[in-house]
Subunit: 325 residues, 2 copies
């Protein structure tokens, strides 16, 4: 069975989805939809490019729409809209608003006989899977999530908004000693400051007061005040050479005890050279599951927690059991 996919929004994530589809023989990219003038958009492959307002014409021609917009404003509006007509996949990642988002989308799915798998990616996504798995298997224990080494888009943006900053990136780093304690089963109580540090690389504008910029960064509430933050000022050349990638990753560790107090440590970790392209790869695998669920008439909103691994694999149940079980 081939899954025919549409992409809504062609930024890093959309470009990644296009690339990931090309890695899967049973997936086909039908069209990319954009809010820009389609004539101004160039994509890597030879799929059609349409204005997002024309998407409705593709009812019946696209099995799953992968929505590649942002969580702040795009997805809360776009997912319920397109779920009227299409099965959808999104990477909605505003944790606090997930229950409300799920309910809104589920109501549309139920009325429209469509499937939406929400909040797909790695966190939320594969990390969520492992948090739930760890808790279910080891009900007595503690779950730790560490992020990094990785570029944080939100924090980089916050630094870039400071007066005198020309360019900036912010990396989140797990504190190695804290990770080690968790891996050893010590089950420590860790403050925000003890779990992660933050490092900024900043290109200052000519004549800018770097001391003032540093002070503004390290005291910024919500973003940096609760962390130990280091600020490095570098040249535009060094920035271009070393800080244009989007690496990320992290760990989910369940530190549990089975009966008789035996320590049992379950860890899932990611080391990603490209955060958006990995997220894209996850979105594409779950598009396969959305298509299959719709084929079975199992409509409604779902999360990765509701999807068995067999549903995201191109292999048959027989092949999976023979080769991978």
């Amino acid at each position: 069975m081939t899954t025919k996919v549409g992409i809504i929004g062609y930024g890093n994530l959309g470009r990644g989805v296009e690339g990931a589809i090309a890695q899967n023989d049973d997936m086909e990219l039908v069209a990319v939809f954009t809010r820009r003038d389609p004539k101004t958009v160039t994509i890597a492959g030879d799929a059609a490019i349409h204005h997002v307002d024309d998407a409705k014409q593709f009812i019946g021609k696209i099995d799953v729409m992968i929505l590649c917009g942002g969580s702040a404003t795009d997805l809360p509006e776009q997912v319920p809209h397109f779920a009227q007509w299409f099965n959808t996949i999104d990477s909605f990642d505003t944790h606090a608003k997930i229950p409300e988002f799920f309910a809104t989308v589920d109501a549309v799915n139920t009325a429209s006989n469509t499937v939406s798998i929400i909040s797909v990616g790695w966190d939320p996504g594969l990390f969520s899977l492992n948090r739930a798995l760890g808790e279910a298997v080891l009900p007595q224990g503690d779950t730790y999530t560490f992020w990094g080494d990785g570029l944080s888009q939100g924090h980089s943006d916050a630094v870039r908004r400071i007066d005198g900053v020309a360019k900036a990136v912010q990396y989140t780093l797990p504190v190695p000693a804290a990770v080690e304690r968790v891996r050893n089963g010590e089950a420590p109580t860790l403050s925000t400051r003890e779990k992660h540090t933050r490092v900024c690389y900043v290109v200052a504008k000519e004549g800018a007061n770097t001391e003032k910029i540093t002070e503004e960064i390290v005291t910024m509430p919500n973003y940096f005040a609760d962390y130990d933050t280091t600020v490095h000022f570098i040249s535009a050349e060094e920035f271009a050479k070393d800080h244009t990638g989007m690496p990320h990753g992290g760990f989910v560790i369940r530190s549990g005890q089975s009966q008789a107090g035996h320590k049992q440590i379950v860890e899932f970790n990611l080391k990603l050279e490209s955060n958006p392209y990995f997220t894209s790869s996850v979105l594409v695998a779950y598009a396969r599951a959305a298509h299959r669920l719709a084929q079975k008439g199992d409509f409604g909103a779902k999360s990765v927690l509701d999807i068995p691994v067999s549903a995201i694999s191109p292999k048959s149940g027989e092949a999976l059991r023979k080769e991978l079980l």
Copy 2:
């Protein structure tokens, strides 16, 4: 919903299942079934103890039977037998025979309206989940499974059968340099010898020829000949002090590339102080899923690959999305 469980076979695994049930508020141990004279069996808690031939009397009183026998002879016979009357969970781990075992059990399930989740545990089990996940998300790449540091029961038994050996344990150790290369995304081709080493701790009988024992171990076909094996002779006292636990663990690493050749590394690893008790914890979590599937009328044989994480969690969908997604 409470899941009423029966245990068939009360060895390490059965004892672990009893302990794991006690960690889960929504699970209840109804009875332990044994092939021994029930009067000679003592269990940790206060569940009933019956002869295995009396199990049939518990139809309707037990939601899921967890079969805790061995893969060589017990499970191939017991799972199809008890699946006539009960939903079942087993840890069948003879990889090569899984397809045949699945088909046999599935036929019984289908005729009897029962659910069996087969080959539950960590390998097969959680490791299988991660092998399938890694492949689905990163179709271009290589999957590596390393085992250890851990006690191998089969290899320990093989050493104990050698003339002159009083006691013996065998540990499998992943080669750190090989793990490091895989984690760094080098995607090396590794021979059996390059992936794992084996270490034996042996208590020799009085007057035994230790050189001859060593020679017999390191040249033993299938078990040791393909590995670098180290043999240590120790005293019965040291053996009793340091080598009676059953630690194990290992890694599943997917070393993949998303488009544009970005390296993406996905790793799942376990560090277990008690291999059988961890396996037991996994069995109990999946018993919850078997009960739920049966309640929905979704009968037949399944593996962990067919079960979403939400089905093994005691939490509702709402709670999972709010707290863990």
